[in-house]
Symmetry: C2
């Protein structure tokens, strides 16, 4: 990103985008949530250029979103997997999945099932206090009015 530094923007969303707001990053993370863990799997699955994949994996590793680990079956190589920080991107993926499903009627939306309760999932963003769904007008920012 050749944009001027956005770290000074004091905005968590801008900072998040700085780390994973680039196309392939989130898709790689998605693959990892699906259990993909090897270079060629990502490459084949996503159709990404090999050099770019190398660069993305390096960056995600630097940022602590991805880590290497020894593959149990194949002694020679290491796989990639999400760190806790990476796992924590799951809600972002869910939110995007939901939105994408909702506004792309041309393709059948993918339905997710919650194993523990059996429910078809429409992921909901709720307040951890009252468990009510969050809507933007019901929120107030704590320190400033406009900066997130």
């Amino acid at each position: 990103m050749q944009r001027k530094s956005f770290s000074g923007m004091n905005c968590s969303i801008a900072r998040s985008l700085e780390e994973v707001g680039e196309w392939w990053s989130l898709l790689i993370v998605r693959e990892m949530t699906q259990g993909m863990n090897r270079f060629d799997q990502f490459q084949k699955e996503l159709g990404i250029a090999r050099n770019i994949l190398t660069a993305r994996l390096e960056r995600l590793t630097e940022l602590g979103i991805v880590e290497r680990y020894p593959l149990p079956d194949r002694a020679s190589t290491e796989g990639y997997r999400l760190t806790p920080k990476g796992e924590d991107l799951y809600p972002v993926l869910l939110a995007m999945l939901r939105w994408g499903n909702r506004y792309k009627v041309d393709e059948p939306p993918l339905q997710l099932v919650h194993k523990s309760c059996g429910h078809n999932i429409d992921p909901l963003m709720v307040c951890n206090g009252c468990k009510e769904e969050l809507h933007r007008r019901e929120l107030r920012a704590y320190f400033t009015e406009t900066a997130w």
Copy 2:
């Protein structure tokens, strides 16, 4: 995006990124959730180049995320605001805000308050059925295993 078409990817996340996965788009949407509605406000607030802002607003409008509307106070010009489709990006912003707050300890995280219950919010992604927080291992995709 000069990537080959990702519409064939059959992945809601990819399709979402296709629409708003570009840096400025989500930040513009964020500004709109904060009530910003005029060209120069976005430009000044975000520090985005004017021609780029024009392009982004056009694209967001084409995609049905943003719409024009007559400004009540100033008769001559129209403002920009989110459509329902645009408003529905709110959970995505919340998920990113949460993640950004969580992993950027150097800056004081912005706290959100839920007006209706007074709680400090840590937005939670829950199952709409059982209201339990969603974790990736508890989900099963309905049609295919790997495609989201």
